[in-house]
């Protein structure tokens, strides 16, 4: 009985997609979107903004485009996703790679098949063929955060700070190096962990919470916290609240989550700014490719022998400009 059920299931799963696609061959342009699955707040935002962009385009130009948004929880399944999209017959690919190196060969293969490609956030390791790289500004996030924190601490006579990073990956190192480069310019600011040292909070609220608990235990006087990410900041704030400590005057996250925008708007004494590294960049990528497909933007980047790079600059959001960034419906 079980075997029969299994066989029926397998047959159904094989046949169903055929029906789903049958009879749809026409002038519609097929756009594949390959992104990481929602394993933390920021990637959750990526999924949301991708869906939003797709729905916006569909509403604006009904029937003109067909989209496939696929998520992957690791680089190798993302490679498989891209292969599947190729079989599906996409004309355009918008991809936010999990990791640059493992995704580079498959994207290059896609390129040789004539598919126009936009790579969002991080670039590829091979820069000898033509695609658009719409890059996030990791150095900018670190630099703006460092400059803002140094200026604020200086202005208020604050001295001691602690720092948290995400995970030991390239983008994290870029952020932290740029942050410390700014902070080190002012020798009066003291990193309690030691010069340019920091702990990894894994971009996780829970890890941020327990790290901050430990820091609060270890250091009797902390003036400022830099934790680089707004999800981590939630945990940091909870630890400060539960400890009842009043010495912390500034807590700076990063990326620009809705919750933190709201805190800035409401005049939270600890949370006064955040540097953007926003998941809406995937929507920028999708709109860009739609512009290329409709002829509003040139597609000659495809034939170039190097990528066309564009950086989405990080912006420091504080009370003065937060209103223009706050999107109440966004999930991030």
């Amino acid at each position: 009985m079980r075997k029969v059920a299994l066989v029926v299931l397998i047959v159904l799963m094989t046949v169903m997609p055929l029906f789903a696609q049958g009879g749809k061959e026409s002038a519609v342009t097929k756009i594949g979107v390959s992104i990481p699955s929602a394993d933390h707040g920021w990637t959750g935002g990526i999924v949301w903004w991708a869906e939003k962009a797709v729905n916006d385009v569909k509403a604006e130009m009904p029937g003109r485009f067909e989209f496939r948004v696929v998520t992957a929880d690791n680089p190798s399944s993302q490679v498989r996703n891209v292969e599947d999209l190729l079989v599906w017959g996409m004309d355009y690919l918008v991809i936010l790679p999990h990791e640059s190196a493992p995704l580079t060969p498959i994207v290059k293969e896609v390129h040789t098949q004539g598919v126009r490609i936009i790579v969002v956030d991080r670039g590829l390791t091979d820069t000898s063929f033509g695609y658009v790289n719409l890059a996030g500004d990791n150095t900018g996030l670190g630099r703006l955060s460092g400059a803002w924190l140094a200026k604020t601490m200086k202005a208020e006579g604050l001295k001691n700070y602690v720092a948290m990073g995400g995970l030991p990956v390239t983008i994290d190192t870029e952020r932290m190096n740029a942050f410390f480069a700014e902070m080190d310019k002012d020798p009066s600011l003291v990193n309690l962990l030691g010069k340019d040292k920091y702990e990894f909070a894994d971009w996780s609220t829970q890890k941020g919470l327990s790290l901050m608990e430990t820091f609060l235990q270890q250091y009797p006087k902390i003036d400022a916290v830099f934790c680089q990410d707004d999800d981590v900041l939630t945990g940091v704030l909870q630890a400060i609240k539960e400890s009842g400590r009043k010495d912390i005057k500034v807590a700076l996250g990063g990326a620009g989550s809705k919750v933190v925008y709201k805190m800035i708007m409401d005049g939270n004494p600890l949370v006064r700014a955040t540097a953007t590294y926003h998941p809406s960049m995937i929507a920028d990528g999708i709109h860009y490719i739609v512009d290329v497909a409709t002829g509003k933007k040139p597609d000659d980047f495809h034939l170039a022998n190097k990528p066309t790079s564009m950086v989405i600059p990080s912006v420091m959001v504080d009370k003065t400009n937060v209103a223009q960034f706050y999107e109440p419906d966004s999930i991030y």
């Binding site: 990637t43 959750g44 702990e199 996780s204 430990t214 820091f215 270890q218 400890s243 999930i331």
Partner: protein, 330 residues
């Protein structure tokens, strides 16, 4: 006369105890004490502060509580990889349930607490049925439900934070009673109950018997399927408790929270002397294993060990703790 006799018998008992002292029987305890001393030195002077110790206990209580249930599953010869996803799933659905009630209602908090525990138990029952009725290998069945639970809660929440509208709910997770945080009390209570269940009930003996040798247990007229099913329900129950405690701590839950809980829970059980091949283990060992994992993390941060090397140090301690047990077994 009587006095000296008593003294003598006490002395012989003591001598007998130490004469028969086998490291293998107390490996976890010895490891625990050694690690505690090491942490005291590395983390001096902050490690021994009361607040630091309660911090550690609260930090490990989330995975610790689940580890207690996991211990029973592993003893019965199974495994549950879905506990992390199950916790996030249960926590998220519980907040959706909580938000059905308007305002800061106490009744809503009580009902939601019960809801979390029941919902978790049902998830556990689902795993258990897949393993017993469906006869799917526990590793595979729970690998499947691990993805299912995670994916469902991401779908229901759109992968965004699920916020509670009830401010009273936060009092559970961040509450403190007699200077000890609420999650730690729950951890202790569950540990005591499951310790008694494992050691002093017929069910506990049956779980060991089934894990040691399923065939023999079946010939002894033990209802093997039922005995294998119940530990999954208990683990679901503990995951429900953790979901309640964690989601109420921040009064919100992110669908990506609680990833990797299964590994910490399994590690706690194994460090605590539970055999991965089943049939043998102890709840109190798991308590010590969970606390040891927490002490390692805390000590490495306090000691300023390079953050790149911390995972290596952690892995090393796990291996040494287990080596200490296995090398003395034969």
């Amino acid at each position: 006369m009587v006095d000296s006799l008593e003294k003598k018998s006490f002395a012989t008992a003591l001598a007998g105890y130490f004469g028969n002292f086998k490291l293998s029987e107390h490996a976890t305890g010895v490891g625990f004490i050694l690690l505690f001393l090491l942490a005291t030195i590395v983390g001096w002077p902050n490690f021994l502060q009361f607040r630091n110790l309660t911090n550690i206990l609260r930090q490990i209580s989330y995975t610790g509580i689940i580890g207690l249930g996991m211990t029973l599953i592993i003893i019965s010869g199974g495994i549950d990889l879905s506990v992390g996803s199950m916790t996030a799933f249960t926590g998220g659905i519980t907040i959706f349930f909580l938000n059905l009630f308007p305002g800061d209602s106490v009744l809503a908090v009580i009902l939601s607490s019960m809801f979390a525990i029941v919902f978790g138990s049902i998830c556990g029952l689902f795993n258990g049925l897949l393993v017993t009725k469906g006869r799917i290998a526990p590793f595979i069945a729970t690998l499947g439900t691990m993805s299912i639970f995670r994916s469902l809660i991401q779908y229901f929440s759109g992968a965004g934070n699920i916020l509670s509208n009830n401010n009273l709910y936060a009092d559970i997770g961040s509450g403190v009673f007699l200077r000890i945080p609420v999650p730690v009390w729950v951890f202790i209570a569950v540990a005591v109950v499951l310790h008694i269940v494992l050691n002093d009930t017929r069910f506990g003996r049956y779980v060991c018997a089934v894990g040691a040798n399923e065939q023999v247990a079946r010939y002894s007229a033990i209802k093997v399927q039922t005995i294998k099913l119940i530990p999954y329900v208990i683990t679901g129950f503990t995951a429900g408790l953790t979901a309640l405690l964690w989601s109420s701590r921040l009064n919100c839950i992110n669908p990506s929270d609680c990833t990797g809980y299964e590994l910490d829970a399994i590690a706690a059980a194994v460090i605590g002397g539970t055999s991965m091949s089943g049939g043998k283990g102890s709840v109190m060992g798991t308590v010590m294993g969970a606390v040891m994992l927490g002490m390692i993390n805390n000590m490495l941060v306090l000691g300023g060990v390079s953050s790149y090397l911390q995972q290596a140090a952690r892995g090393l301690v796990i291996i040494v703790a287990v080596l200490l047990q296995y090398n003395n077994k034969n």
